[in-house]
Assembly symmetry: C2
Homo-oligomer: 358 residues x 2
Amino acid sequence: MPNMPLNTAPTSPGTGAFVQHVTSSTPPRGTRGTPGHGQPRERDALRAAQLYYLQDLTMESIAKELAVSRSTVSRLLSMARRTGLVNIEINAGGDRSPMLVRELEHKFGIKVHVVPTDGALADAEILERVATHAAHVLNTLVSSGMTVGVAWGSTMQALSLALTRKPTHDTLIVQLNGAANPQTTGLTYASEILQRFGAAYTARVEQFPVPAFFDQASTREAMWREGSVRRVLGVQQGMGLAVFSLGATEAAVPSQVYRGGYLSAAESAALHEHGVVGDVATVFFDGSGSDEGIEINSRATGPTLRALRKVPRRLCVLSGAGKLRALHGALAGGLITDLVLDEGTALRLLNAPPSSSH
Amino acid sequence: MPNMPLNTAPTSPGTGAFVQHVTSSTPPRGTRGTPGHGQPRERDALRAAQLYYLQDLTMESIAKELAVSRSTVSRLLSMARRTGLVNIEINAGGDRSPMLVRELEHKFGIKVHVVPTDGALADAEILERVATHAAHVLNTLVSSGMTVGVAWGSTMQALSLALTRKPTHDTLIVQLNGAANPQTTGLTYASEILQRFGAAYTARVEQFPVPAFFDQASTREAMWREGSVRRVLGVQQGMGLAVFSLGATEAAVPSQVYRGGYLSAAESAALHEHGVVGDVATVFFDGSGSDEGIEINSRATGPTLRALRKVPRRLCVLSGAGKLRALHGALAGGLITDLVLDEGTALRLLNAPPSSSH
DNA sequence: TCCTTTTGTGCACATATGTGCAAATGAATT
DNA sequence: AATTCATTTGCACATATGTGCACAAAAGGA
């Protein structure tokens, strides 16, 4: 009775083409098995995956059937998982889901995914778990032909690293908001996040090469009339899914936006003045989930909340303690349709009353 | 780095309710973990499944987190799979599928699933593999609210035994054709097949309590006007999916229909006369896939091919050597939209020219 | 209340699986 | 042709996993 490997082997990058090999101790391959398949290695991987996951054969017997060693089968299966050939999903829907999830879904009218977390886990571990879990959820939401808006930040970074491959066609990944700032030159990592999404879904990537905030609102207006920018904004219009986390002013570990030199001290103070509790893609909102009347938003580059709400599916990935007020605001503003969050935060969300704004 | 168990443990029936237990060596449970979930065992199973399949944790660490022994985690995961909480699917779609599949799909314009089979496999093993594979394919086709027509026969029997649980709502399983005959009293096994489908999909089952063939066509006409029969026929009208195999006159192991006392010698001879190559749900067809002009069909109880073709999705499960001519006929007649078959048959199907009928 | 039956648990052992390492292969280059 | 380089393979060993078994805890009956 077989088991089922899972780990993503820390093997080499391995982007290269597949090439046929012949073992000396074994009769030459190529005549074996079904003729006329694709690259031999991928063909074997599919075959192995079918026999292992569908037929419950042991790796040993699969090895015999493919005329390779057992360890090769192990590696084939490992590859099959990494490349998304095998897809494992957990059906937590309906009456099977724990009461916590059901209560949250009922209370807020959205789809909720609670990531199990042990109380003793460090914040970094929680983030990683949430990201991994969210990656699987994302796989069920992304489909061919879809345009997916993607924000950036530490949570999105973790998510991008946890993505599992799911090849699609004609999918388009579009950056939600600019990422450049006066302090750091590169901020290549925003683009790296995008690239990883693109690789995972074999999708084209549309970057948004503008700063996170303009210094002058008038400059933004001017830029927004530029053809190159209008094109990206046009792509954003077609989004079927937006993926983002929330920035929170009160977070123990302050969000990317509140470090990194994006905001001046004066600006931070102004945010507090207006009762801002958090942001989505560098657009700030108050406790009621409104982005209006906040000066800096006129210089921000993320979609207005009004525009965001037009996206049919809006997945928020949230990890950790300090973002509760931001989450309440975002929920009040109807910004979220699908939520992934850790168990601790979920519990607090259920119990804690929405903080009175300001 | 964890592995992933697969086998359906041969444990006791276990239909009973879940009950909380307390171990002496362990502090009482119930205070642990998220409060307010469903039955503790199912709650743990979900949690374990998420940690194991999504987070790639080892069973050992999950055991620690759930405060149970590692073996319990193993059993929880085993249960999670059996009950369909965990769903494993293989994405063989698009350009990743082997050329054999692509060629068949192109040639016949249908969706094809080829079950890998070693050349040295016995017929019974091939049947089992095909059935197991088909069960997974079926899971992707059956959805809530759907009416599924199900035939009977040895292949359907094997399929029913290989089904994996996938709970749905408002699904309806309806028997495609009568199964009683003058020889065997029970033929309980036709109903057992149906029951298994019902159990796997938590669906209501609609039986069709008529003989496989009437002695007199006029009796059928009369019965077809009966309210009870009309109700079943009405349900059949709503089918979104039909699942069947093919009977073949030439099969090495003759199909159920050609043994079992369903047909007299004279009837068998008449079938050959008319160039019959096989049947679907006891409705016979010739090499071109037509059921017309075949006397016995006026006494049969399965849906006419015209009626069958109205079902949007028609899954044919086929295993073994001798059914090639029947398959060619069924394909010519456009009876099939989705096909599951073993590799050997698939190869012959691709190469062999359609047998000239009669 | 006592007894029987059912169900779940941990233990220990037999299998099954993942992976570092060295050897072997095939392709590309000199 | 010889050489280099990047992959791939099989081996062997360390882990990880499945399961028979005996026992403990609940549930049901008398």
